[in-house]
Amino acid sequence: MTEEIIISGFGGQGVLSMGKILAYSGLVQGQEVSWMPSYGPEQRGGTANVTVILSNQRISSPVLNTYDTAIVLNQPSLDKFEPLVKPGGTLIFDGNGLHRLPVRTDINLYQINATEYAYANNSSKTINMIILGGLLKIRPIVEIENVLKGLKKTLPPRHHHLLPLNEQAIHTGMDLIMPYAV
């Protein structure tokens, strides 16, 4: 099994850390993992993306041009990565601020309004965990318990009191995600 994932959004939406948690979860689960960020000016406020690969085999290229799963959190990311999802693959998008929605009919489309939910519930920093929960509902590539272990590894100890909040956000995401029909 190899899962090639791109996560893309605005800098500050937690794109890179979502990828990091996913990569750590894979590590805990004994998989081969790679995490390749766009490290350019993006991380200073523009669009940021990260390629995460989880596999049972040695990973060759950390840089890809097509993906099994794309998670897009803004319009430029949707425009860039929708065409790059492999036929039969999965695209997850947050509807917040989009003026053009996905159009492909040969891939599985899912909408998760994580941003809207998080702001309504005064917890904007959980957006990425809500989306991660949504991903794991439809693509259970790692066990939730391994995600929580991965999360613990990525969070500095002084933030460990936030672990229950993040776990809750994962479950919220599992409830929020829904299929989207073109």
Partner: protein, 362 residues
């Protein structure tokens, strides 16, 4: 430091270099921040090795200062290193040439970014000529290692020091922004204590550690105004480079046994080409990959051997075509040698390089 040596962790290539340096008993790190390798200095500042192993970590005022601090520490027989990215490594070339001339061991890491000039912070491999053909002045070479994974960033830090001290030469790790920035699984090298002053005196009798009664003063300099003597130094260096060429060639072959066409690529591009090999094999195309691990010494002989049984090579680089010249030297016209590259920080995708192979060689 508290980690067991066999523990698998997840970290960036840059972080792996920092941890490996502390673990292999490095005495001093001197560097100046520059993207995409600043995590090396940052990680060392977090580890605070001066509190445990006594390793010195210093942010110098410039890259010129960094390399000359390495020169000074190396003159005392200390294991010392610096790291930078392309523009910073250009500034260091004089110091590297001086180290080669003075026969001093040290490690220089170049996490390449796109040039020329300040260029871009995105990955590149366009410093191949500078690293392998002598970026500074004079007739010198140095071992150049090209890591293609985070694991190799850690392993080659140890290896580069070994080679530097074995042959009394600066040694370079030539990585690129991708390998520096990506996170992968890594098992860090086991912890080796720093050498004591006594051990350094024994292993490096040339070191300037203060004159003792039983010997003449040690002088370290790259200056020798008497031509006959200077030629002798050059001949000694050349003899050593031939030894390095004889003993230290390293490469990896992937599915070359039955290959009709072979990718030649190092670092990140080797990873991308490996994926292209996987795709090609699924399509029934017999494609392989040779990945030079040492860029100096270069695996000329192995490529020459392979050229007897394949239909063509394509060198894939993030540059305008630099290593391809060495592939052509090795192949010597027996079969076509093509080139595909991107510049300016663009990383070609696996599909893109496979298409290049099909277009140029099929």
């Amino acid at each position: 430091m508290s980690r067991k040596s066999d523990e698998v962790t997840l970290m960036k290539g840059n972080e792996a270099i920092a941890h490996a340096a502390v673990r292999c008993g490095c005495d001093g790190y001197f560097g100046y921040p520059i993207t995409p390798q600043s995590e090396i200095l940052e990680t060392l500042m977090e580890i605070e090795p001066w509190k445990t192993t006594g390793m010195v970590v210093l942010q110098a005022e410039s890259e010129v200062a960094s390399i000359n601090m390495v020169y000074g520490a190396a003159g005392c027989g200390k294991k010392s290193m610096t790291t930078s990215s392309s523009p910073g490594v250009s500034l260091m070339q004089e110091g590297i040439s001086y180290m080669a001339g003075a026969e001093l061991p040290g490690v220089i890491v170049n996490v390449m970014r796109g040039g020329p000039g300040l260029g871009t912070i995105q990955p590149s491999q366009a410093d191949y000529f500078q690293a392998t053909k002598g970026g500074g002045h004079g007739d010198y070479r140095m071992p150049v290692l090209a890591p293609a994974s985070v694991q190799e960033m850690a392993d080659f830090t140890v290896l580069a020091f070994d080679l530097a001290f074995k042959y009394l030469t600066p040694a370079m790790i030539l990585a690129d922004g991708i390998i520096g920035q990506m996170m992968e699984k890594v098992v860090l090298p086991p912890f080796t204590p720093r050498r004591s002053e006594e051990e350094i005196r024994r292993e490096c009798p040339w070191a300037t550690l203060g004159k003792t009664q039983d010997r003449n003063p040690n002088y370290i300099s790259s200056l020798e105004l008497r031509s006959e003597e200077m030629e002798k130094i050059n001949l000694r260096l050349q003899k050593r480079y031939r030894e390095i060429e004889k003993n230290e060639v390293r490469y990896e072959e992937i599915q070359c046994e039955d290959a009709d066409f072979i990718f030649v690529a190092f670092g990140t591009m080797a990873r991308v080409c490996q994926k292209a090999v996987e795709i090609a094999r699924e399509e029934g195309l017999k494609v392989g990959l040779i990945r030079p691990i040492t860029l100096f010494p270069y695996p000329y002989n192995r490529i020459a051997e392979l050229s007897e049984k394949v239909k063509g090579f394509i060198s894939v680089e993030m540059s305008a075509g630099q290593m391809v010249e060495d592939v052509r030297l090795a192949v010597s016209g027996k079969v076509p040698v093509e080139f595909y590259g991107r510049m300016g920080g663009i990383v070609p995708s696996p599909e893109e390089v496979l298409n290049a192979l099909k277009t140029k060689l099929l």
